[in-house]
Each structure stands twice: as C-alpha cells, then as structure tokens.
Amino acid sequence: MSAGRLPARRGFSRQRMTAVLVKEFIQLTRDRLTYAMILAVPLVQMMLFGYAINSDPRHLPTALLVQENSVFARSVVSAIANSSYFEIEHEVRSPEELDRLIRTGQVQFAITIPGDFTRRVVRGDGAQILVEADATDPTAVGSAVAALASLPSEALRHDLTGAAAASARSAPPFELVVHRRYNPENVTAYNIVPGLLGVVLTLTLVMMTAIGVTREQERGTMESLLATPVQPLEVMIGKLAPFVIVGLLQTAIILLVARLLFGVPMAGGWAGLAIGTSLFIIGSLALGFLISTLTRTQLQAMQLSVFYLLPSILLSGFMFPFRGMPEWAQWLGTVIPVTHFLRIVRGALLKGQDLAEMAPSLLALAVFVCVVSALALARYRTTLD
C-alpha cells in the first residue's frame, strides 16, 4: 500500500489545478441556470437597452415663445406642429417662463422665435430660431432634432416672394440654433451598447464566482477540499478558468447583437479590446473569488456583489456621462474597474483607438487584476478557522 503514499508535490501541481478545473467545468455544464445566465443576461439586457435606443419617441412636450405676430412665425410654428415629434403644449410670453418649463422638465423642447425674425429674414440678415433641448435623455432628443434639419429650407417656401425667395434658393432664409442642455458629453445611443458589455460581464462573472465558491462552503464540500493538500492558487485558477470561457461567450454575444441588431460601428482597436476584455474578465472573476472569502452564505455573496455592481453602473459613465458627474463622484468612478473598461470598449468600437491611446485604461485594469488576485489569495484560508 506504500505505492499510494508518494509524497504529493509541494509546489504548484498542474494535476490538482486540473482536477478543480474539470470539476468546475462539469458542474457548470450541468447547471441549467448557468446556461440561462450566460445567454439570457446579455440578450435581455441588450433588448431592454436596445429598445430604449431604437425607440423613436414622438409627440415630445414642447413650449413655444413667439415674440412677434407675423405670417412667417405662424408658418414656422405650423411646420413644427406638423412634424410628429413635437407637441406644442405651452405658448408662453416670456423667456423666464420658457426657461422654467424646460428646467423643471415639463417640456423636452423650448423653441423661441425672436421679435426681429421677419425683419431679418426679409433682409437676409442671419435670422435665427432657438431650439433648446433637455438632453438629459439624449436618445429622446436625437431624432427630434434630426427632424428639424429641413425646417429652415422648407418652412417658408410658400411665404417668400421676390428677392427673398430667390436668395432662399441659394441659402436657407433662417438658421436653427440647437442648444442641448444638461448633458455636456452628449451620450449617443451607440455609447450605451458597448457600455453594456462591462455591466453584463460584471453582473454575471462577479456574482457567479462569488456564489459558486460560497456554495461550496455552504454545502460542506469545501471541508473535504481543505482536507487535501490542494493549494490556494490551484483552487483559484481551477475555479476561475471555466468562467473565462463564459465571459468570452458573453462578449461575443453582445458584440454580435450590437453589430447586427443595433448597427453599432466597429471602428477597430481590436488588440486593445482583446487585452482589455481579458483583463477585465480575469479581474472580475478574481473579485468574485475575493468576495467569496469574505462571506459565509450565498446570500451574503449576492449582496456584496450587488453592492459592487451598483456603483459600477451608476458611476462608471454607463448611466450618466462621466464628465457630467461632480468631482468626488469622478474620483470614485476612477477606482471602479468598469469605468476603465468602458473607456477601452468605447475607444475601440467608436473611435478605433490604438494600444497607445488606450494604455492608461489598460494599465488601470492590469493593476485591478493584480491587486484583487493578491488579496483573494491572501484571504483564502486553508483551514476552517
């Protein structure tokens, strides 16, 4: 019987690591809920947010300040009213009232036709109409503003005569000035889908590993595992590696849907995207592992994961434009890994950034991976104390 007593390897053992890895992989494939998570989370999220992006809201509440009583003004107003995007709900008498309506969010648009409109149109002297948009919800504003583009050349076509009509043929008789308010960075629809990648990966990967490892403690199988010579690094790699595949699968699903369904541009930056995604996946998994070393029950693991998820959604620039946040929130956002991952994904897909341009964010993610892995290994107990 001495044959079995070969002193097990003291250093890192590939076989022990593989044992954990194979076991995790089998368990993963036997768990239906996991399949659901892998597929449903990205798809449902994409559909939810995608719907918001695709939605083409019409009949947006609009306030009007007309400072002159003229034929031209009436024509412009009726052209605006005829477009299905604007619902003129208020006709106000002062700029203050107009400002109050848009500030309080009662209207999405505030349109001002100034008192010298007709005079300037007739003279060809740079007539303007001011359109203020509440751009806190940029997706709502986008298509409405686009619909206004033809207004200057169309609205007065039947009213102009003589010289004014002739000059209108070469240049529009007036100009539309659009002010997007409350949203300095002006997040566009395309910004959201790439951002979703970071949120979905965080949601599934951190939670799956945190719960997976805690479940082993709760079910009592951890005790048997700890009674063997297996080492922390072997457990960690073995447990996390199968989930790297899950993360890559989800990334593929999201990018595919983003391209095919929502036509998100893919400007390039593939190298940076690949490195950034790998780092982010590994870091998120290590974080889940770290969380599992801090919790005793699956419920606690879940709560801690959500605790991490919330600022990742709110402060990373996914929900709200990063530059629109107060300084302290930007500081907080900077230490959240998702923030850097979002910059990488957007930088790659939308701007086609090269590695050098992404370097700061990639470096931040590398630091994240190292710190969290080291902490997780340090926290992992080989006893039940």
């Binding site: 053992s13 076991k23 089998i26 368990q27 199988t221 048997s224 700890l226």
Partner: protein
C-alpha cells in the same frame, strides 16, 4: 507499540466558549478508536484539529510523526477524512467524484485506481449515476472510497453511519475493519452503541472533556458500577422514585426492564430492599457501555450545575 497520534493539552474556543478542554490522547497504529459523546461535545472539532483543518488555541502533539500545527500539510497528505456532512459533489457522477479525489491528491495511475475503487464498491455498472441520487448507505460507502483512494495511513470518520440503515452500516463496518487490518489507523465518531462495541478502543467525550478511555471492558470496569436488572410489570415506571435515593446514580429503562446502577454495592442493595417484592424480580448484571455513558454524562452534568 507504535503511536499514530499523540496530542496533549488541546484547547479550542469558539466565540469565547471552550469547546475542547485540555484534550489529550494517544492512539496506537492500526487500531480503530471510537469517539463517543453527546452532540456538541467537541468530537468534530477534535477530529478537525487532528488533521489540520482547525488550529488549536493551545496544546501540541503529533500525528503520524508530524507536528499537528507546523506540519499539518504532511498530515493532510497521509490522512483520509470523511466529514460529518455528505461532502461529495452531488452534481458529479460516481466516477467523476472518484476521479476528482484522485487528481486533487496528485495520484498517479488515476484510471486504474478509479476502476479498482468502482470494482471494490460494486458500482462499476452505475458509474455514470449522479452521486446525489444514491441512497444514504451508498453515499457513505462512496465517500469512504474517495477518502481512502490515496491509501492514507490515518482515517478520520465523522459520524459516517448517521442515518444509514443497519444492513448498510454492517457493510460499512466490515470495510473499516478490512482497512484497519491492513494497518490503517481509524478514528471514528459515532452515536451507536453497537458501533462502539465494534471499535478496538473507545474515547468518551462530553462537554469538551475526555471522560473515559480504553477498550470497552476497560471503560466499563473503570466506571466501577454495580448494576441490577429489574423485571416485572411496571418496573420501568419506578425510575423517578428510585433516583431520589442518593445511592442510586442511574436508573435507565431497557425495553421493559430497568437497569439500576450505583458505585457503592451495599448502599445500592439497601436502596433496592423496599422493591424486592412481587411483581418485581431483580438480578445482578454486568453494566453495559450505555449504562456507563449515561452515568458519565450524569456526572459532568452535575459538575455543570
């Protein structure tokens, strides 16, 4: 005699409560030692300290020649541990569980070992069955197989037969004796008296203290109990009355009979005098392990009051 385990002065507290108190024990190689004692008396905690899963607050000792604190990694390599709860992976098959155990212990010839274990268990045909779907008895036999796949020198079994039917318990114990015959040292905690009698040695623990130690006969003898067996209709209802007499330390029903024990033989006889009348019949008998354990328990409980 070669010693497999020798520890002394082991203490362990959880949240300020001392769960194991100055525990000392010596276990010979190749012996089966039964850990007995009421729930919560520290059996599991002691087993965990022996195999390096818990660090004692104080105390020292060695297992298999290795220091239980400094060299627990060496002990883990040579020890098989079957936890109190079923701790195989229910969502893995029988075969996968065995494979995992072999690989996690860095064994060679994984395939042969798994085949041999399946064969030994008689589960070769059911190898692809999920472990979670096995009956209680089979689960425990599988757990034992995974805990001994690496041919350990020391085997720690924590209530391995709790909730298992008598037939399966017998098979399980035959297996344990077969392993011990090969030189394996076994420590097994149990609640069953018949299992206590199957052990070579007994250690009785209550409230974290080792109260009795030795073979079953030694434990019984050292308690110094004199026992009378009472029979006849209604005898089992006498016990509250009898316990009122200080000479009677123990009056426990055994089916329809009543076992009455005390350490002072003549005082016990005097105390029983009023009851030596029909329909009761009294015979002197040897106290059993159960009498001794109940007696030991009663004494610590007295100390606690």
């Amino acid at each position: 005699m070669t010693v497999a385990i020798r520890v002394e002065g082991l203490n362990k507290s959880f949240g300020g409560r001392r769960v194991v108190k100055d525990f000392a024990i010596e276990v010979e190689r190749g012996r089966i030692t039964g850990f007995l004692g009421p729930n919560g008396s520290g059996k599991t905690t002691t087993l965990r300290m022996l195999c390096g899963l818990l660090t004692p607050d104080s105390g020292s000792g060695e297992a298999l020649g290795y220091d239980i604190i400094a060299e627990s990694a060496e002990i883990k390599r040579r020890t098989g541990y079957m936890t109190q709860r079923f701790s195989l992976y229910e969502d893995l098959t029988i075969e996968e569980n065995l494979q995992f155990s072999a690989r996690i212990r860095d064994l060679d010839r994984v395939r042969q070992r798994v085949e041999a274990a399946l064969d030994q268990l008689g589960l070769t045909e059911r190898r692809r069955q999920l472990a979670g779907t096995l009956s209680g008895g089979w689960k425990q036999r599988l757990a034992l197989a995974t805990a001994t796949l690496h041919e350990p020198e020391l085997l720690l079994l924590d209530e391995p037969t709790a909730g298992v039917d008598p037939q399966a318990r017998r098979t399980f114990w035959d297996e344990i004796h077969r392993l011990a015959a090969d030189g394996l040292t076994v420590l097994v905690s149990t609640h069953y008296m018949d299992e206590a009698e199957r052990c070579h040695d007994i250690a009785y623990i209550a409230y974290g203290e080792l109260l009795a130690r030795g073979t079953a006969e030694e434990v019984i003898r050292s308690a110094g109990l004199v026992t009378w067996r009472g029979e006849g209709p209604g005898v089992d209802r006498l016990s509250p009355e009898l316990l009122g007499d200080p000479a009677i330390e123990l009056a426990a029903p055994f089916g329809l009979a009543l076992h009455v024990s005390g350490r002072d033989a003549s005082a016990l006889e005097t105390a029983l005098e009023p009851y030596r009348r029909p329909p009761f019949r009294w015979t002197r008998t040897e106290p059993g392990l159960e009498d001794v354990f109940i007696h030991l328990m009663g004494r610590v409980e007295d100390n606690f009051r």
